[in-house]
Subunit: 137 residues, 2 copies
DNA sequence: CTCTTATATAAGCGTTGACTTTTATAAGCG
DNA sequence: CGCTTATAAAAGTCAACGCTTATATAAGAG
């Protein structure tokens, strides 16, 4: 399943938003989603399965808990796909900054960098607000 | 319909790719898509309708032709949604480029850096590079 | 071992979505 | 005008999706 398909569902997008702050247990995710969307535990579990199978998350067992985390690769692909449209809204950016940023980003992505690069993401625990407000039928 | 839903279909993504080079008539799009996906003219027309109705394209009539063009707003929204995940793969961008790019791109969001907690090792060899080639069932 | 908690799977069902073929609309052209 | 080209809409079909209830698995607590 292509990442875009998985991202088509608001529940799954919301789950990823929740995971963007760091890993979460299935249970924690489930209670938030249940509260926000009013769906059952198995429904959430099925969404988690889709996320797993589309490579958007990884899971790690800890006792009886399952800890889900964002797996960035497919999102990076989506980001790359969007690249060709950035010109549509970045046209007005001044040339120097754009060139710099773009050049750097691309150069980096085109190169292997797995060697000693054991550093981890850092999350700004800014606001928790959802940006996405949708209802489902 | 949310942009992400519309983007879930490979035909529609392909149409947008074709439009990323500039506006195209329905006919031109249709013949490419027919060739690549083997679907009928009405099928393409229906995809065009979805793209129109989700705001991803605009249309302009010229005689009997319809000229489609990318309408960037929803894509920009998608891009904004992705923003929160960029940290997962851009963590190592050096400061200058990052500041320039980010500051410019989302000046209004008032982003700040932090040296936060650590999870989410992402360790994958580079791969891919190709855009999109999929089959449909 | 039994009961409970955490999570996933199975089976079934209604709805949606992506097609198809057929038909409509409307502009150009002889 | 009638014929053709360009495009959309209508109606029907079939599979995929998202949900539900019911059930399985597996770890922990008592």
């Amino acid at each position: 399943m292509h990442a875009f398909d998985a991202l088509g569902d608001p529940v799954r997008r919301r789950i990823l938003e929740l995971l963007s702050h760091g890993e979460q247990t299935s249970g924690a995710l489930t209670s938030v989603i249940r509260a926000e969307f009013g769906i059952s535990q198995p429904a959430v579990s099925q969404h988690l399965r889709v996320l797993r199978e589309s490579g958007l998350t990884s899971v790690r067992a800890e006792g009886t808990r399952r800890l889900y985390a964002v797996e960035p690769a497919p999102l990076r692909e989506v980001d790359a796909w969007l690249e060709r449209f950035r010109g549509f809204w970045e046209q007005r950016l001044d040339a120097l900054g754009t060139e710099l940023a773009r050049g750097k980003r691309e150069r980096r992505l085109g190169r292997r960098h797995d060697g000693g690069d054991a550093h981890h993401a850092s999350h700004h625990a800014a606001h928790d607000g959802r940006t996405d407000e949708e209802e489902r039928p």
